[in-house]
């Protein structure tokens, strides 16, 4: 597999590495040369940039700017929310004109929350500086990378800071840079490797440091000899051992699991991650973005995009995130008249765009203009004849024909038993199917149904828990109220039956008051009014009679009334 390339003086070239093979795969027409004839061009500032807050796998970022704000190039406009998330940044300086739903590149054609920025033309950077990554707390460094928006540029856009965590083992022995780029038409990684190989390896140096890796392997399909040569030259001078390995060209040889198998012979276990077998894989574009972030302090605000297919001048561009597809294809000499639509990505795995007003995002490796001539519509499907050619082509060692039958019958449990979730949706099965059945569509349907059901199940479990807790609470409150009532009812008779210390105290108080009343009464009785001292006896007699009458009235008043 080794290719003789002049200029490659690295010892790795002389090493005889045993390469392995994965099962299946297909050989579609490459069409890569059409876009590699011209160097990467810098796309000019568009009139408006639309930056989706959700460009990565995981939770969308939260907008931290408002409409009308002036932002600088590289300024954070969306903050990572939750663990699996990264930030998004202003790709140039300008004014925030909207934070609203806008059409995005998604198979549904639905809109998503985006920040729109009208550039001021100054392209003025926010204050930024390189990171002293070797003398930094590893978790702090990872958080900085999250805040700089670094995510995998190979297509899955998984937050890189999570993959750059060596975990409990403190070590991921093998670091693989993925320069496979197996999908037809796409050449952005090829051109990046040709032109910026040194920077890619500078990014790899950071990865190697963070993951404490022993081996650094760069896997490149052998249909990219210029890229292989460029990386070998860079590897010879980068200061750490790097093995640049040409791998046979077979689709999907650039799939992470497939490349790991080819380079190391190891297989990622079903449902597992590559770190389980001590391997970390990053796209070469991610390594380049990491280099810009760490050694220049620049967040991820641009990427290389191949514009090809039914355009006049296919080429690769360095494009700011948020650039509308319509403006981008204009740079490639506009589309030809018979253009029927656009695909983001390649013909095997790409997604059809609902329109050309969607922005370029971190995942956009290619914009492929389609025409009926270049991409004839699929012939009508015919019934499955169980020829199992799909099983021979499947690079994930699945049984696509079985998965198809189960997905079609909505027997989702069975699809999971047949490891549906190991399917990478590469499209090899549909490609070889003699009945032209859109097999991947069935798998995608089954996967999203299963996810939705799991979500519903989780919601139901939560509702059950909350309902049961509420029931419990109502029951408890009822019990508590009953207990309180019972206590009050039993407290009343206790008051009458004296004996408790409280009752004794109350009785003592009562006695004191009674004594005071008695004393006052006695005092009153002992006092004789002064106005009756010098009176004649008949007057005294009269007074005595009146007093007697009063006493009698008092007595009557105190007697209970007879009814």
């Amino acid at each position: 597999m080794e290719m003789e390339i002049p200029g490659g003086t690295n010892e790795s070239r002389l090493m005889n590495r045993t390469l392995y093979e994965f099962n299946g795969g297909v050989h579609p027409d490459e069409h890569k040369q059409v876009s590699t004839a011209r160097p990467i061009a810098l796309a000019p500032l568009p009139k408006q940039l639309v930056i989706p807050l959700s460009q990565h796998i995981g939770q969308a970022a939260k907008a931290i700017v408002s409409v009308g704000d002036q932002v600088l190039k590289g300024q954070r406009i969306g903050q990572a929310e939750g663990y699996v998330s990264v930030s998004v940044h202003a790709p140039t300086s300008g004014t925030v004109t909207a934070i609203a739903a806008h059409a995005v590149a998604h198979p549904s054609g639905l809109s998503d929350l985006c920040v729109s920025i009208v550039p001021d033309g100054a392209d003025q950077w926010v204050e930024h500086a390189s990171l002293d990554y070797r003398n930094m707390e590893p978790s702090h460094l990872r958080n900085l990378l999250r805040d700089m928006g670094i995510a995998g540029l190979g297509g899955a856009v998984f937050p890189s800071f999570i993959k750059l965590n060596p975990g409990a083992a403190q070590k991921v022995p093998t670091l693989i840079l993925n320069g496979g780029e197996c999908e037809p038409w796409i050449s952005c990684d090829d051109m990046l490797m040709r032109e910026r190989a040194v920077e890619i390896l500078q990014g790899a140096a950071v990865m190697r440091f963070m993951l404490n890796s022993d081996d650094v392997l760069v896997g490149i399909e052998d249909n990219k000899p210029e890229a292989i040569a460029a990386l070998r030259v860079a590897a010879a001078e980068c200061g750490f051992p790097v093995e640049v390995i040409a791998v046979p060209t077979v689709y999907p040889g650039g799939g992470a699991k497939q490349l790991i198998k080819v380079l190391t012979g190891k297989e990622v276990p079903s449902g597992g991650r590559s770190t389980d077998i001590g391997v970390a894989t990053f796209n070469v574009g991610t390594a380049y973005a990491l280099h810009r972030a760490v050694n220049h302090g620049e967040p991820l605000i641009s990427r290389i995009v191949t514009v090809t297919g039914n355009v006049h001048r296919p080429q690769n561009f360095e494009v700011l995130i948020g650039m509308p597809v319509a403006e981008l294809v204009r740079l490639a000499g506009s589309v030809k008249d018979d253009t029927s639509g656009y695909v983001m990505g390649g013909p095997m795995m790409g997604i059809t765009l609902a329109g050309d007003d969607v922005p370029v995002v971190k995942a956009t490796n290619c914009i492929l203009a389609q025409s009926p001539g270049l991409f004839p519509p699929a012939p009508p499907a015919m019934p499955c004849i169980r020829c199992t050619r799909c099983a021979q082509a499947c690079p994930a060692d699945l049984q696509p024909q079985e998965l198809y039958w189960f997905a079609r019958a909505k027997n989702f449990g069975k699809t999971q038993e047949y490891n549906l979730f190991d399917c990478i949706e590469c499209g090899c099965c549909s490609y070889v199917c003699p009945s032209h059945i859109p097999l991947v569509q069935y798998y995608r349907y089954a996967k999203s149904e299963i996810w939705a059901k799991e979500k519903d199940k989780k919601a139901a479990d939560q509702a059950r828990e909350r309902h049961e807790f509420r029931q419990l609470r109502i029951e408890r409150e009822k019990r508590e109220r009953a207990a309180k009532l019972a206590q009050r009812a039993s407290a009343k008779p206790a008051e009458v039956a004296s004996g408790s210390p409280e009752d004794a105290a109350a009785a003592a108080k009562k006695a004191t008051i009674q004594a005071a009343i008695e004393r006052a009464k006695a005092k009153k009785d002992s006092v004789t009014p002064k106005n009756v001292t010098d009176l004649p006896p008949e007057k005294l007699q009269e007074i005595a009679e009146i007093e007697a009458r009063r006493a009698k009235i008092r007595e009557i008043a105190q007697q209970p009334v007879d009814e």
Binding site: H106, P380, R444, S448, A463
Partner: protein, 176 residues
């Protein structure tokens, strides 16, 4: 021979006790299939009572509109009975929705809070109430008690998080 029989009998007996499989009681299994909206459309005050009634043979399996045909199929499979179409007496399946309180109209009477089976409404007496959308099961039990009719059900719109791939519509060519 007799010794062997006694030994094997003892071994089997021991295994039966030692490796006894703890199975979920049937009520739990039925309850796990029910959608837990706690809406009471089935005629029982919640999903668990309905599950208990099914287990006791006091209710049919086709009384749960939120569970839909899917739920009935699952119940039929679990209980080994024939599938029956949803009984229209108990209502029709509706798209998933959440309750929304018009906060300007709310007088803070707490009646909806008392009606909510999953404690998804937040508020206090004479204070404005609001629905915690993530916890709302869409049971509609809060609507009737509201004296000022300020609660409405809003269908959950499809967004990128809830969007699903559709069942492929494939143009089939009849094999001639």
């Amino acid at each position: 021979m007799a010794g062997l029989a006694v030994f094997l009998g003892a071994a089997l007996g021991f295994a039966a006790v030692r490796f006894k499989v703890q199975e979920d009681p049937i009520v739990e299994q039925i309850d796990a299939i029910l959608p837990q909206t706690q809406c009471g459309q089935c005629g029982f005050p919640g999903c668990k009572p309905y599950a208990t009634a099914i287990a006791n043979g006091e209710a049919e399996i086709n009384q749960c509109p939120p569970g839909g045909e899917d739920g009935i199929h699952k119940l039929a499979e679990l209980l080994g009975v024939e599938f029956k179409p949803l009984n229209a007496e108990h209502g029709e399946p509706k798209p998933k929705s959440v309750a929304i309180i018009d906060e300007a109209t709310c007088i803070g009477c707490t009646l909806c809070i008392q009606a909510c089976p999953v404690d998804a409404i937040l508020g206090a007496a004479k204070q404005m109430h609001t629905v915690i959308a993530q916890e709302c099961t869409g049971c509609e039990l809060c609507i009737a008690p509201c004296p000022v009719d300020c609660i409405s059900m809003v269908t959950i719109k499809e967004d990128l998080a809830t969007w699903k791939w559709k069942y492929p519509v494939v143009q089939m060519k009849a094999a001639s």
